[in-house]
């Protein structure tokens, strides 16, 4: 897919219209993972709107979104940035072999108390 | 009406002067297309529409009749559209009794700001009536005319 097709696909599956964004930056103001991200929520919105997806596809920022939905809840324009990030992430992990999390690296990350829910979620977020 | 073998319904739209007629004008201002089968009659308020006007339209060959007024609570005359709502509920059950399909009539609330809604409503209504085909129920009466 080229950039324009990719943008349309992301907009379609996320159900989000990035043109509604008025550039207030509340998503990035409220984001708990901001410091971990190379591209921040408001940049996701504007870059997708502009069809500038290539840098996003390569960025680790995709895997830093906590899906806490604070940006979705607090956006005054109903843009829902987290859904856009999710849609871009799916474009990446749906590619064969593009899993961000490899099963063999899991044992080193877990401890005895770690709830099973976490592993399921992480695999959903990172891998297909 | 059959035009080149294709069925084109005849639709009469009653629009109140303050909201729906202005909404239709707005649809025009914004160049929003809807089928030419719709012909609008201006009335001061939707409550001016006597149910007999609608019966007359069907009698004279209309395939669908739509009545548009201000949104409930926004009537220019305060309460006219509430009367409309009740009167039309009565009329529709009578039409049902006569065997005229319920889908041939409709009441819609369209404000002066809802040009897009007006056009969308008309598109939808025309499609709905087109699907039903010709209104044959009162055909005999028409022949007697």
């Amino acid at each position: 897919m080229n950039n324009a097709q990719l943008r349309d696909e992301v907009i379609r599956i996320s159900g989000v219209n990035p043109s509604k964004c008025m550039g207030c930056g509340k998503c990035s103001a409220t984001c708990p993972a901001y410091d971990e991200m190379e591209f921040h929520p408001h940049q996701f919105v504007s870059m997708i709107k502009n069809g500038d997806l290539a840098p996003l596809l390569k960025s680790d920022s995709l895997f830093r979104c906590l899906s806490c939905f604070a940006c979705v809840e607090r956006c005054p324009r109903g843009v829902e940035p987290a859904k856009l990030i999710e849609a871009v992430r799916l474009q990446v992990i749906r590619e064969k072999g593009a899993n961000h999390l490899k099963p063999e690296s899991v044992p080193a990350m877990v401890d005895e108390d770690l709830p099973g829910q976490l592993l399921v979620t992480a695999f959903r977020k990172y891998a297909k | 009406m059959q035009v080149n073998g294709e069925f084109k319904p005849l639709i009469v739209a009653f629009c109140c002067n303050w909201c729906s007629y202005a909404g239709a004008d707005l649809a025009g201002n914004n160049r929003l297309n809807y089928p030419a089968e719709v012909k609008i009659i201006r009335v001061p308020c939707s409550c001016r529409v006597n149910p007999t006007f609608i019966l007359r339209a069907f009698q004279r060959g209309a395939d669908g009749v739509i009545l548009c007024g201000c949104h409930p609570g926004d009537c220019h005359y305060t309460s006219g559209n509430y009367y409309t709502r009740r009167r039309m509920a009565m009329l529709f059950s009578m039409l049902d009794y006569l065997g005229i399909e319920r889908e041939r009539t409709r009441v819609e609330w369209v404000s002066a700001a809802e040009g897009a809604k007006f056009a969308a409503t008309m598109n939808d209504f025309v499609a709905q009536v087109t699907a039903l085909g010709e209104n044959k129920r009162l055909e005999d009466l028409r022949c007697k005319k």
């Binding site: 930056g25 509340k26 998503c27 984001c31 408001h42 | 239709a24 009335v43």
Partner: protein, 664 residues
Amino acid sequence: MQRIGVFVCWCGSNIAGTVDVKAVAEALSHEPGVVFSTDYQYMCSQAGQDMIKASVAEHHLTGIVVCSCSPRMHEATFRKTATAAGLNPYMVEIANIREQCSWVHKDMPIGTEKAIILGKAAVAKVHLNAPLTPGESPVTKRALVIGGGIAGIQTALDIADAGFKVDIVEKKPTIGGKMAQLDKTFPTLDCAACILTPKMVDVAQHENVRIFSYSEVSEVKGFVGNFDVTIKKHARFVKEDLCTGCGACVDKCPMKKVPNEFNLGMDNRPAIYIPFAQAVPKVATIDPAHCNMLKNGKCGLCARVCTAGAIDYTQQDEYVQEKYGAIVVATGFNPISMDKFDEFAYNQSKDVITSLEFERLTNAAGPTAGKLLRPSDGAHPHTLVFVQCVGSRCTACAEKGKEYCSKICCMYTAKHAMLVRDKYPDVDVYVFYIDVRTPGKNFDEFYRRAVEEYGVKYIKGTVGKVVPENGVLKVQASDLLNNKQLHIDADMVVLAAAIEPDRSARPLATMLTASMDTNDFFTEAHPKLRPVESPTAGVFLSGACQGPKDIPETVSQAGAAASKVIGLLAKDKLMGNPCVASSNEAMCNGCSSCANVCPYGAITYEDKEFRMPDRTVALRRVAKVNPAVCQGCGCCTVACPSGAMDLNGFKNDQILAEVDAICK
């Protein structure tokens, strides 16, 4: 048989582009009664109108059909043309072949066919048109202004200065409104009280003005020129004519812990109170919810200290009836509730306040005597964060915010920031903005001064979360230009809350049958050309009840509304709308169905003598429509079981003729 002339307008290419106007004129020329049919490029132009006039004379026309733009556009124009040509103006019908034909269809044959049908319907209707003459009604030379803020005060003063009587109804115990609560005003920084209070005194002392404070409009009947209004005067338990405003009762009242609404609850007042020192009327009011005497009969201290004998615990609400020729709505605005925006912790910390609360905090007459003190502990703050657009430009959730821009926040925030930096140069001031909107005389210069001369830190971005912790407000925000997330420890956060119309506006609009938009702002009769009139005749709009406005705009609109009122009151008689209902007495059986549905009470009954076929005389009850009160909705015509009631201009047979023409 009518002699009808048909005039088809090209409207340049607006109509002629999609409708074959010559074919329309041709087709309509064959309709019965049509003796002349033509087309022209611009029918509404002087040349077009002259052509209509000439044709009326030449062809002895009795009726005119104009196929043109919407009747909402030019019906009045062509009616005037008809009058000039010696015809009754109501012998004109418009076929709307622009907005409802050429502009919504693309195909020439289809558009032409539809235009012909619409023209035929108009011709069929004109056949049944009858000349109509509007009735006349007298004008009561007195105006009512609802709301006693700066908008209402200015409107009342201007009307009164022109020599007409004006009454102001204000629901609070004093006039003055929001402006009385403000400190300084942008962009000149003159003090609000210094420019408002003289006006309050002027209006109170004006011989043509009466002020009903602590009162509300409870009922409105009638119509333009002849409104009957009932005003409810709330019992204030103090005789207004005796109270001298000395304040002895206020000092002595033992119940001192009532949240003071004038200071937005940031300090307390007694149960008997005068809202502020310059209140007009300067009369005390007892708050019955908190007065011990009124609640359980135990106290009576205020009555004992009042030397004027003004206290009256037995006072009841009082109703006043008055007639008015015109009504001006000036009900103003309020900041929206911050309850749904608790990411800013407004409900969690006293140090998070709205901008209106901030006005009171910097006002010399406010709870801190104008000193900037942190509300939670009274300490001097070191860092202030202002957040713009809280609830404005918010489309995500209708229960939360408002879709519109509140218009005044950019400027008052610049003012607040500047004033803080001016008085306390040691305080760091941040303003988080989305856009700074400064269209107004000297507005942008003012904002730039705040940045350049006063060192206010304007940051493009907004605040996402405020966390009160150990006496500081941890502010997390975005700085979009530097692509950073900021973490600021602030002492106070000031929220520029969106403004919304006062809650009394919606029920008032219902009483006045005046229309409102979805945000409860009153709708103007025309957004550009009639901005201070409501679509309901005789009702005018002043100030923020019509949309967000700053003080200069409000005052200009108030003056404009006053001039419209003066124009109305200067007339001795008003011409009515002749398209009203009328009853055929011979068919009426006096059943009351029509009167029951009439929203205006325009229908009454009288017993009338009728000569019967057998030469006897019978007394029958028949309906009678007051043409000055009837607004012409036509609801009664449908309710009438005998078909006696009909509506001029939209008669049953006229509408049926249109239906027949369309369905032919």
